[in-house]
Every structure is written in structure tokens, then in C-alpha cells.
Symmetry: C2
């Protein structure tokens, strides 16, 4: 038996706003940040669990404080008891009758729970000497559904539905694991498309993306429609007709504006329009989805949790579901969302970029491929070539794919030197 | 000209869990708390602005830290410039491109903005020597709509719609102000109905409620259906057929369970079922509303903001809309919600209780009566007889009505001695 000894948190911020990396129609000057947690135990195996919440600067201190506030739920507890029943651990945190008032089940407190849940999954994977995707993909369907809280989900997905999906995917697991290790998982890149870049830089980065093997890129839109048309034309001319081009409005529009704006961009063969409006506006997404068809609507990076995703699916409000590794309450909730998407037959194309989101979320898509949907068709993980050098096991992306990580853990461990150097000191 | 000098925050917690006041099906042991803010200026008028976020204990420190994080938006700023354009002030806070990542526009950061916005309204009202309700009710329709951010609302409520509603209510303002001052605004009481109380205490408090002039009470439900039937029968027998009895499940159920459970309680002539399921589940509320008809569905105390309220209205998911003074980003956003409700013809019956929520929210209903809907029909403000003694201008409730406050301000100022005594020290 071992015991949790410390829950160390740190407010880490990278001054990315100086380069206008990450600039879009709503986020003018992000400083990519991580509210970081390391959970240590008294075991002598040398393992600790790492997790974080990604934010874009101001407020990262509040997010860090929220993680720290969970210490009483952790310090002194039996590690094996938690790791053997991650479903109960999740429910205990999310169900804290006082803390849930701050959400419930969304926002700062929910994301803090996600950091801690992810850190414990990191520890579990390290103890098993497995990358997280493989640890998850080797669990039985029964063990997987035990991770999920089905409260509020059963009108769309029951425990039996989930079991059926997982059992149907059991036969091909070994084949797909081998396939994943050989071929990787498809990626697309947002690197060319930030609003703050010049046309020259956009074209250059588009050429580089294609040369690097990406089959899809994404451009930020929503600042000025004439600029968007110009940039889109330039991008399309640069990459040719065979490369998919997604667009991302970062919540800029209301319903009518979204439909009009995308009408003006429709000639460029758009792969999807992402976050056309407020991320909580299910009914507006549904109206926009109708109005911009056949352009698919994508959303999810700001979706607070499984109840919102459930409704987006029920309302036919999205055609592409974008999970994020740190927006919801960790691995358990993201598995629930993967199963919801599978039930509705909607592809999951994770949001990534930021700090360490690529490192983290790839595990979930790889698990999905092996144990849930059994396919990568129509699926692609976002990739942005920023800040990977700060991680112990950075993503390995080449030839337009994520190569499956083989190092134990969830990928979220940041180098100690980087944590120290970028600790925010006000 | 004067300048904001300090933004003082304090983590205040009352140990209410010791009495099981406030116990319900999801909140077993709340410690009613306030993440409190006082904003001071260098004016020599002696006025400061007070606001808070209500929470139920753990996490109040995080909420307090979130308010404190807004200091850079406030300290050193020109007070009159803010007070003369509260719409721009609101947009500046909600639109902070980095902080909004933590929501967006919901949860801890959004509520923190609400505390600060409400505190500035308190200051504005004190400077005008008016209670907040009267300050608001004397603003022109144009001034009122300038407070509102219509982004994401225009598919349901445009600026012109809002102006039309407000202009239609202009003629009778003076008459209704006099009427309000004479007769007050209808209240109902939740005091009898907490789950933690014995049957004897329930019956006694029901009798007292009727003797005190209340025409409606509310019972918590959702713990055990047989207990609920017994308690409901007891309450109905005690108060007789003419007193309305609401029920509140505090998010306990999924869709089917809500419909079945309320079917078993329907014989008792239920005024409404409140929070039957997850507060973000618009589609589930809509399904429940159909399934439990003619029992009305009420919700809102955990509704994160105007975009969610808009959808609840669009989806016919509620028949009673329950604003809360501290869940959204303050007075401005609550006015947007009052106007949405007016547009859809849905009565607003505010959530109150907790710490100081009665003191705060009454101003909004009174403003609604005078300047928005012009009626109190079908409307009633929650009242719970707890903790009022800690406020400088406690609510004046008797004969089943809230008597309109006449003291300047928003009602949220807590006695300095109480703030000191109940400061949480870990």
C-alpha cells in the first residue's frame, strides 16, 4: 500500500502573446499557460502523476488555486484504492456537495478535477509501464463503463449501450493496435492559420504543411470577411484542391452572421466551420448547421462537459465533435463523450495545440480507434507545432500523422526545468 | 472625478451545516458562504460598493480569489466614467480575452465579474441616494438597453425588441411604484421544506408560514419518493388547498425518473417542480416539461448565463424562470434575462435564500414590475428566513410580501462586524 503525500501545483505561463501565435477572432493575445499539478506518493517506485489545465494567461492563478483546493480529497489517501476504482474516485470529486456549487460540473472547478483525474491516470499508466492509450485500450468493456457516471446521460446513452459499443470493438483490438503503431493517427495542422500572421507567412506555412505531409490545415476566420476571403483564396491556391481546409471562428458570430459569412466562404470547399458561435448555444449551433450545410459544424473545445455534448449530438448541432484533454473532468468524462459520439455516429476530431494538449489528447483518439469506434476515417487530431520541447515525451508528428507514444504515462509531464523557468511570478 | 482605490475581498462562511438548514437532495451539508467584495474610492462621500458571490462552503476561497483577480480591471480607474457607462464596463470585464477562457461567460470567473458589477451598481445607487430597484426603474428604455450585450441573443431578442418591451411599460411606471411601496412584492417561503427536518418541524413551520401570510411554500424532494409523498401529504393537510406548494429536486433526476417521480406526487396540486435535472440540460428540461405537464417546470439558480436562459425559453423547457442575483455577471446580465423572459411571456420567480440573496434579488423583481412586465401576477420571490441579521439593510418581509427597500444601494452590504466574525480562517 502507498499513500498520496503531496499535491504540488504551479502556475506556468509562456509569453506567447509576443509572437501573436494563437491569435484568433476572440483571443487576441493569448499567453499559453498551464495550471499544473504533480501528485507524489510514498511508494519507492519513483513515479508521480502529472496533469494540468490549459488556459491562455490571466486567470491561470485561479485555475491553479482550484486544483490546490482539491488537496484534502487526495493527501493521505490510499493510492491503490484510487487507481483500482477510478470511477469512484471521479464521482467522489465531482460529487463534492459544496464544490459542485461552483459549476455544477463545468468551468474552473470541473477543469481542476480534470487535472487531478488526469494526473492519477498518469500515475496508473506509469505504474503499469504503459502509455495511457494502451492502458485504456486493454481494459475490458466492463472496466471501461465502470469509469463513467451515467447520471444525466441515459436519455441518450445507457450503460448497456456503452457496453454494446465496446464489445463490438473487442475482436479487432490487437490488429488495430499493430496498425496504429505502424501507421500512426492522422493529424491536421493549425500552424499556418492564425489571424495575426501576414499573407506571406500564411502562404509559406501552408507550403510547409503540405511538404510535411499534412492532408488538412485550418484557418482562423471571423475578424473581417474580406480578409478571410483573401486568406482563404491564398491558402486554397497554395495547397491545391486535394488538401482539406477547415475554418475556425472562435465563437465570433450570432446565427445569421455565421450563415452569411460562411456563405461567402463556401466556394473554397471548407472542411468544417468550428465554433461559429457561443459554445453553450446548442440551439444556435443546430440552426447554423442547417444554414451552412453541407459545410459541417465542429465544436467542443469550450464545451463544459458530457451533458452539453449529449445535447449537441441530440440536436444535430455538430457533425464533428472536438474533445479537449483539459476542458472536462479528465479521462473518465472524455471516455463518456467518446462513447456518446460513437452512439450517434459522429467523428471525434480533438482540439489540441496550446500547451501540451497534443501530448495529452492523442491518447484518447488512439484509445477510440482501438477500443471504441475501430476507425480513423473522417477523424483527425489537431496539431500545432508550439511548445512541445517542454515535455518529457513530446509528440512525435511526421508525415501528417501522430506516431503512437510508447513511453509510460499520459504525456502531460513537463520538464522540471521548463516548469521552473516559466513559473509565473506576477 | 474620483478613482477606485481598493478592491477588498473576504472569504465569509457561516457554519449552517450544523443545523441542516439548506439540506436538499444534492446539497447534504451546505455552509452558506459569501465571496465578498468591497470597492472603495477616493471620493469623500463615504460610499463604497458592496457585492458578493453566494457559495455553499468549500470553494469559497477560489471564488474569492477570482474576484481578487479582477483588481487590475478596477484599481486606479475613473469611477464616474464607469458608473456613467455600465454597459461598457460589463463588456470590458466579460470580454477580457484571457479570462474568458475560464468560462466562457459562465462559472467561477463569470460570477466573480457579477460580484464586481453588482458592487459598482451598489456604489452608483448609493451615490444617487436610491435603492437599486428605483435607480433602475427610473432609467430610460435607451439607457437600459445600453447595459446589455446582445451578442448571441439576437435570434431571440434584439435591441429593438427590448426597447419595445420597455417603452410599452413606461406609461404606468409611477402608478406601479406607488403600488409597490404600498403593497410590496409577493414572497414564498422555503423555510419549512428542507429535507433534513423532522415531520414535526415540517408541520410546525408550514403552520407558521401560513400564519405569517405566505400564500406559497416549497418543499425539497428527490431523496426518497415515499418520504416525499408522506411529507407532501403532511404539508398539504397542514396548509389546506388554497396555499400553493412548490417542489424542488435540486438536479437529482434524469428524464424518465423525473417524470415518474412527479407522477407520484401529482395528486398534491404542485405549483412547480424546480431543477428536476442537470441545470445545463435544456433538452432534458424540455422533455420533462412535456412529461410532467400540467405541473410547470422551474429552473435557473444554476443557469450559467443569458445564452442558457435564452435556449431554455426557446425550447419551451421552463414555465417559471428563476434568476439568481449572484450566478450570472450581475445586474446587467439579469436585466437581459428579465427582458428575454418578458419577450417569451414567462414569469420570473427569483431564487433566493442563502446569504443575502433575498436582499439582492428583490431589487430586480421590483424593477421588473415597474419597468419591464408591469405585473406581479404569477410571480413570487423566494424567501428563506436565514442570516438576514448580518446585513446593513435586511429584507423586510411580512404578510407574505417583500416590502420595497428604501435605503440607498443594492442591499448586499454586510455588517462589518459580521464580515469580521465569519471570515473563514481555514
Amino acid at each position: 500500500m502507498s499513500t498520496i503525500v503531496t499535491v504540488d501545483t504551479v502556475d506556468i505561463r509562456f509569453p506567447t502573446s509576443e509572437q501573436l501565435d494563437g491569435s484568433d477572432a476572440m483571443n487576441a493575445d493569448p499567453d499559453y499557460s498551464a495550471a499544473y499539478v504533480e501528485i507524489t506518493t510514498d511508494a519507492d517506485d519513483g513515479h508521480s502523476g502529472h496533469g494540468f489545465v490549459f488556459t491562455i494567461g490571466r486567470g491561470n492563478d485561479i485555475q491553479t488555486a482550484a486544483i490546490r483546493a482539491l488537496s484534502p480529497h487526495l493527501v493521505g489517501r490510499d493510492v491503490e484504492a484510487i487507481l483500482d476504482d477510478m470511477g469512484s474516485f471521479w464521482r467522489g470529486l465531482v460529487g463534492d456537495s459544496q464544490l459542485r456549487w461552483l459549476g455544477p460540473e463545468k468551468g474552473v472547478m470541473h477543469m481542476a478535477i480534470g487535472a487531478v483525474v488526469n494526473a492519477m491516470w498518469d500515475l496508473k499508466a506509469k505504474r503499469a509501464s504503459l502509455p495511457l492509450w494502451r492502458l485504456l485500450a486493454r481494459m475490458s468493456p466492463e472496466e471501461i463503463v465502470d469509469l463513467i457516471d451515467f447520471r444525466y446521460l441515459t436519455d441518450a446513452l445507457t450503460r448497456d449501450d456503452a457496453l454494446q459499443i465496446l464489445r463490438a470493438a473487442e475482436p479487432g483490438r490487437a490488429t488495430r493496435e499493430a496498425e496504429l503503431l505502424e501507421h500512426g493517427y492522422p493529424a491536421y495542422t493549425t500552424t499556418p492559420g492564425w489571424l495575426g500572421y501576414s499573407d506571406e507567412k500564411l502562404a509559406r506555412l501552408c507550403r510547409e504543411a503540405v511538404a510535411d505531409g499534412f492532408r488538412m490545415i485550418k484557418l482562423k476566420v471571423g475578424g473581417d470577411v474580406d480578409d478571410d476571403i483573401r486568406r482563404m483564396r491564398l491558402a486554397r491556391e497554395t495547397v491545391g484542391p486535394d488538401i482539406r481546409i477547415g475554418t475556425d471562428a472562435n465563437q465570433r458570430w450570432g446565427v445569421d452572421e455565421a450563415i452569411e459569412w460562411m456563405g461567402r466562404l463556401s466556394e473554397f470547399d471548407i472542411a468544417w466551420i468550428e465554433e461559429p458561435t457561443n459554445p453553450d448555444d446548442i440551439l444556435a449551433h443546430a440552426a447554423i448547421a442547417k444554414g451552412v450545410a453541407p459545410i459541417p459544424v465542429a465544436t467542443g473545445e469550450h464545451c463544459g462537459g458530457r451533458v452539453m455534448f449529449k445535447q449537441l449530438l441530440q440536436a444535430n448541432a455538430l457533425s464533428v465533435l472536438q474533445i479537449d484533454a483539459t476542458r472536462v473532468a479528465g479521462v473518465n468524462e472524455n471516455i463518456a463523450i467518446l462513447l456518446l459520439a460513437a452512439k450517434f455516429g459522429v467523428p471525434v476530431c480533438p482540439h489540441a495545440g496550446g500547451v501540451g494538449l497534443c501530448e495529452a489528447v492523442q491518447h484518447l483518439s488512439m484509445f477510440d480507434f482501438i477500443a471504441v469506434t475501430g476507425t480513423t476515417e473522417g477523424r483527425v487530431i489537431e496539431y500545432v507545432d508550439h511548445l512541445h520541447e517542454h515535455f518529457v515525451t513530446p509528440t512525435d508528428v511526421s508525415g501528417g500523422v501522430y506516431h503512437a507514444p510508447t513511453a509510460p504515462g499520459n504525456g502531460m509531464e513537463m520538464l522540471a526545468a521548463s516548469r521552473e523557468e516559466y513559473t509565473f511570478r506576477g
